[in-house]
């Protein structure tokens, strides 16, 4: 079984970024069907039936998220989370680059379902060209009558605003995204109240991921039951997996959920590069725990991967070959969280600093074995004790790598350098 192209069907099609070509391929028919043949509640029901779970990382059922909005409280807002910043993740960028109108259409369908008069697309600052592309698509859609007053002759009116960020991973957390959109420092808010009750400008708000919304035109056109028949019982549909690292063909591959990870690695990614063997991989981006070659036969299923001690997260698969230093990888990820910690709560702000300092000294081979013992303490004082998941996830990879590759960590202590890199250089010169 190879790729199952649903969202990526038109990737690479000449001119699909233009409204004219997108319409010719059946684009905006999902929006038309929703607006002219379905009530907002019927759209919600269809999405619930589809079983689709959020593609941003947490995997919460989308239809259920929508149904948390309090009845008769208006206005409500839709925020599209295009702040993709998870290390290893680049699928939302691909969905915008390759089929931007699919996202705009999905956004409008969701806005109709929850009756939002404005949808904001919050796109990370680094995606500069992607923001300009989306702005152009929104203007095209507006000129064609898909955005604005009384869309397609219905009673539904909606504006779409593309909002660029400015470099902050934390803004992918939904309440930090809302703060950032309000013109504040992007720091997470205390929950409850959840955004569905009190979000943007204090109004009920839904935050959905780019990939989640890109599925909606298909769900509306072909029905929730059809969608639910794809994938597994609790992980329905397809997902875009961003594959990177030591593989022959890095890229984004759309797979039916339930497909074995090995198939993704060997058939789509062309296997591990340079004829080497796999040492470890991360199945869900920088935040998720390390998995080993023995896990390759697990299916791409959110719950199964969670039971194995990791998560599919945002769908980023990072593969590492036998020459990889797990201390170096852990150090880079810890550095990332230290850099991105928003500073709001002490366990994360201080903990990531301690973690980073320790991992740098370990990678340089100047840490003592006794000091390495404090790594577990530091992580214990962070995991589950931070204000938002950023601080928790700052410990997940390093702790799982420490458990799985304990000897390698210990070998670094007092080694005066990185023993793995020393071995690798001997391999090269031999």
């Amino acid at each position: 079984m190879a790729e199952h192209r649903l969202l990526t069907e038109h990737f690479g099609t000449e001119g699909v970024q233009s409204l004219r070509v997108y319409e010719k391929l059946g684009g905006y028919q999902g929006l038309r069907k929703a607006l002219t043949q379905m009530t907002p509640d019927e759209v919600v029901t269809e999405v619930k039936t589809s079983g689709i779970r959020g593609r941003g990382g947490a995997g919460f059922p989308t239809g259920m998220k929508w149904s948390f909005l309090p009845k008769d409280v208006h206005p409500r807002y839709l925020c599209v989370n295009a702040d993709e910043s998870e290390p290893g993740c680049f699928k939302d960028r691909a969905l915008i680059d390759e089929d931007p109108h699919q996202l705009v259409e999905g956004t409008l369908i969701a806005a109709y379902a929850i009756q939002a008069p404005i949808a904001f697309i919050y796109i990370r600052g680094e995606y500069h060209d992607q923001r300009l592309l989306l702005e152009r698509c929104v203007e095209e859609a507006r000129a064609a009558g898909y955005i604005g007053k009384k869309i397609l002759g219905s009673d539904f009116s909606c504006d779409v605003i593309v909002h660029g960020g400015a470099g902050a991973y934390i803004c992918g957390e939904e309440t930090a995204l809302i703060d950032s959109l309000e013109g504040l420092r992007g720091q997470p808010r205390l929950k409850p109240p959840f955004p569905a009750v009190k979000g943007l400008y204090g109004k009920p708000t839904v935050v959905n991921n780019v990939e989640t919304l890109s599925n909606l035109p298909h769900i509306v056109m072909r029905g929730g039951a059809w969608f639910a028949s794809l994938g597994t019982e609790k992980s329905t549909g397809t997902r875009l997996f961003c594959c990177s690292g030591h593989i022959n063909r890095p890229g984004t591959y759309e797979m039916l959920l339930g497909t074995p990870i090995r198939e993704l690695l060997e058939e789509e990614c062309g296997g591990v590069w340079k004829g080497r063997s796999l040492k470890a991989f991360q199945p869900g981006g920088g935040s998720m725990q390390v998995l080993l070659p023995e896990h390759l036969d697990l299916p791409l299923d959110m719950d199964v991967v969670a039971r194995a001690g990791s998560a599919l997260g945002a769908g980023a698969m990072v593969f590492m070959d036998e020459t990889t230093c797990m201390v170096d990888v852990s150090m880079r990820l810890v550095d990332f969280y230290q850099h991105e910690s928003c500073g709001k709560c002490a366990p994360c702000r201080e903990g990531t600093y301690f973690e980073s300092d320790l991992m740098h000294r370990l990678e340089r081979g100047v840490l003592t074995t006794a000091e390495l013992g404090t790594l577990t303490d530091i992580c214990d004082n962070m995991n589950g004790k931070c204000f938002c998941p950023l601080g928790d996830t700052a410990t997940w990879f390093v702790m799982s790598a420490y458990q799985a590759f304990r000897e390698e960590f210990e070998e670094h202590c007092g080694a005066g350098g990185c023993p793995v890199k020393t071995r690798n250089s001997r391999l090269v010169t031999a």
Partner: protein
């Protein structure tokens, strides 16, 4: 006296009027200021505050939070090299060393001719499929080698743009909306 041009002020007002609340326009307004001045100055931020009905400290607090705003002058072009895991696994450190040698300054520095400010970042740029990767004036450059980096620097060097603004467009890239 205004440090912002009429065009920048008009852009900030246009942004302000897009949102239900003017404060939401802080980020896009700061982008407009950086686009004109190359970095954010206290005077520029004060004008943003005036136009949006805020006090300057509210705007400065936002500006200092986000990593893409510059609080000091930078070169005409800005180079951002990803050193997070996916890029590191495919040779980001070699690209870093190459840039260091080519531009004659460490990460965060500006080349002696004032053309390039470059820095390495652990912030994943979302180009892992084309690792190692970097952004030059916000445009992705992927599958880098030392040779490709040299060619890109040469191409950008003579282009009429600066760090806050757009670089020469790649073929097929969209038109600037604003």
């Amino acid at each position: 006296m205004s440090v912002l041009t009429a065009a920048t002020r008009t852009e900030i007002e246009r942004q302000r009027d897009r949102y239900p609340q003017p404060r939401s326009a802080v980020l896009p307004s700061l982008w407009a200021v950086q686009h004109q001045l190359g970095h954010l100055t206290p005077e520029g931020m004060e004008e943003v505050a005036q136009l949006l009905g805020l006090v300057p400290s509210e705007v400065e607090a936002v500006a200092s939070f986000y990593s893409m705003y510059f609080d000091h002058p930078v070169g005409r072009h800005h180079v951002l090299v990803c050193v997070n895991v996916s890029c590191a696994l495919r040779g980001a450190e070699e690209i870093v060393r190459h840039l260091e040698g080519r531009l004659g300054c460490p990460s965060g520095g500006t080349s002696a001719d004032g053309e390039f400010t470059w820095e390495q970042t652990v912030e994943c740029l979302g180009a892992c499929g084309g690792a190692p990767a970097m952004q030059v004036d916000h445009h992705f450059q992927e599958n880098l080698t030392g040779e490709r980096v040299d060619a890109i620097l040469e191409e950008v060097r003579n282009a009429p743009s600066h760090a806050g603004g757009p670089a020469p467009r790649r073929r097929g890239a969209p038109e600037r909306a604003s």
